[in-house]
Each structure stands twice: as C-alpha cells, then as structure tokens.
Symmetry: C2
Subunit: 186 residues, 2 copies
C-alpha cells in the first residue's frame, strides 16, 4: 500500500483492523469521502487527517525516569511520525544522569524547570516508580507542561488546565483476563 496514490476503504480497514463500513463512516465524520469504485486520494487524506490530529505541529516531549521503560520510550521510533520529538531525558539517579540514551544526555531531576524551558516541551512522560510520580508531575506542571502521559499505577492530581493519560499495564492485563474469563465461560 505504501507509495500508492489511491487507497480503497477495504485496504485501509484491513490495515487498521476495523470493518470497511466502520472505516468509511469514521472518515466521513472528518469530511473525507472516498470515490465509489476508486477509493481515497492518499495525499488529500493524509493532509486532512494530519490537520485533525495536529500532526503538523511538532511537539517536544520530556521523558522523566530512564529505567528500562524510559529507555524503551526514548528509543521508540514511532513518536517522530506522529509529530512528537523526544527533546530531553531526565532521571533522579546520579549514576544515570550524564549517560547518553538514544542520542540524548540524561539530565538531573532538579533541572526539570530548565529542561522544559529550553525545549519548550508541552508534553511530559512519567516513567518513574509510583511513589515519585506525583512530585515529578508537580515539577513538570510547575514548569509549564500541560499534557502528561504517565505509566505509574497511581492517580495524579493536576490543575484543571492539564490533561493526563495513564497507561497502567497491570490494569490492562486485568481487563484482558476479565474479558478472557467471560469468553471462556460462554
């Protein structure tokens, strides 16, 4: 499909793992209509989706907590194509500070304010152990970050203007097991 100028809803649906009917419906909400028997113009669709999703704007991300998870996040290639740039890495451990991870030198936790200022980061990723999540959150918010992605299994308290999303792997497993058990019981 890569490199094509036109793509059918069937091809897009297969790639996205949804039904073609659902895909056409979803895209129609964005004002995108394919041509019957032809499909969608790829360049036009890309531009339109990019506008809606804000991918045009490049957003700087600061990752706090450079353990295994922080390493994985810093090394992850998928951010750039979604409009994110990992601009700085921060850790509290003096043994980790100063090391280079994914091309960036890890900076100390007490420099969060300076780091956010220098990089104009609006997005913070929290990959620290649960007890440290709230203080790190407070430091990021205090420095001007307005969007937080946290991996700590802990509810964060933030001012009203800050958006938080939480990825809780243990909860994901639990939800999975719950559905699996139900399905097996049928």
């Amino acid at each position: 499909m890569r490199g094509s100028r036109v793509v059918t809803s069937e091809e897009l649906a297969a790639a996205a793992g949804v039904s073609p009917a659902q895909l056409r419906k979803d895209l129609s909400f964005l004002g995108s209509y394919g041509r019957r028997g032809v499909g969608y113009d790829v360049a036009h669709l890309e531009r339109q989706l990019g506008e809606v999703l804000g991918v045009q704007t490049r957003r700087a991300v600061v990752i706090v907590g450079i353990g295994y998870l922080g390493h994985a996040l810093a090394s992850y290639g998928g951010f750039a194509e979604r409009g994110f740039e990992v601009a700085a890495l921060v850790d509290a451990d003096p043994q980790v500070v100063g090391t280079t991870v994914a091309g960036l030198v890890v900076e100390p936790a007490d420099a969060i304010g300076r780091v956010v200022g220098r990089t104009s980061a609006s997005v913070g990723v929290i990959a620290v152990p649960a007890p440290h999540a709230q203080p790190v959150c407070d430091a990021l918010v205090g420095a001007g970050v307005t969007a937080l992605l946290t991996f700590a299994p802990r509810a964060l308290h933030v001012p009203e203007h800050v958006t938080v999303r939480q990825v809780d792997v243990a909860s994901e497993l639990q939800i999975l097991a719950f559905h699996d058990a139900r399905r097996r019981a049928r």
Copy 2:
C-alpha cells in the same frame, strides 16, 4: 489507609481519583454497599472485588520480546498483586536467550509451544518490534494462549476465541496532544 479495617467512600475515591458519588455508584453495581457514616468493611470489599476481577485465580503470563520494554515488564512488581505471575520470558535474539532477567532464564522463540505448555500460560505479552508481532501472536495462539496484550503498533489478526488488548504509546501521546490542543483552544 493501609491496614485499616474500615474505609470510607471518600478515602477510596481520593485514592482512585474519582468522585465519592461515582465510587459508591460503581461499587453498588457489584452489590457492595457501605454503611452510612461508617464506610466499607475492607476485608469484605477485598474479597468481593477479588471475585469479580478474578484475582483469586493465579494466571501465568509469558512475555515475548526481552528488549527494554520486555525488561521493564518482567521487572514490574505490580502484576503479582493483580493475580498474574510472569512465568516465562522468550526472545528471538541468541545473545539474549540464556540470560537471566528478573530471576527467569530467557528461552528461545522457537520454544514458545513448549514454554506455554509447561507454564500453562493463558496470557501472552507481545513486546517485539512491529514486523514480528503477527508471527509471535500466531505462535502464542497456536500454543493455546487465549489472551494477548500487545505493545506493537500493529493490528493483530486472531481467531474469534482470543482476546487482544493493545497498548500503543504513540497513539496515547497523540490522543493526549489532541485533548490538550482542544483545551488550549478554548
């Protein structure tokens, strides 16, 4: 709160990051009612929630892909308290196979069938690069795994009896940025 015999909906709500009214409503769906002015009996509530969530049943988990993310998952202490036991680690890289991570010796990818059989794992965690996700998924499902948690940004094709949950970090960031942009525009 830890160690208490009784807990109020206000305390539980604060810990969960929801409103007390919402919390009381949610628990009432499970048939759990606190006593007005007293609260919930902790032991009773724990047993009741455990039954609903299936935490009583210990479930074996196999993690495939022992890069930074796999390391983070293998080392994560939060699984045990939710009823999961990381029973085996698998990787395709001969340099990684045979190393010990979080107390487990990493086993080779072509041993998935044997590993699943030996551990009676019903849950598989896929932490491999995107192009390898579907073959790993097929091997796990072929070996009898019925619940999959995948971190690869790729839709997986599975038989009807298999449950899949996907954690896509780039998508999470994108959703976050989308909400943040909307909020700023207000």
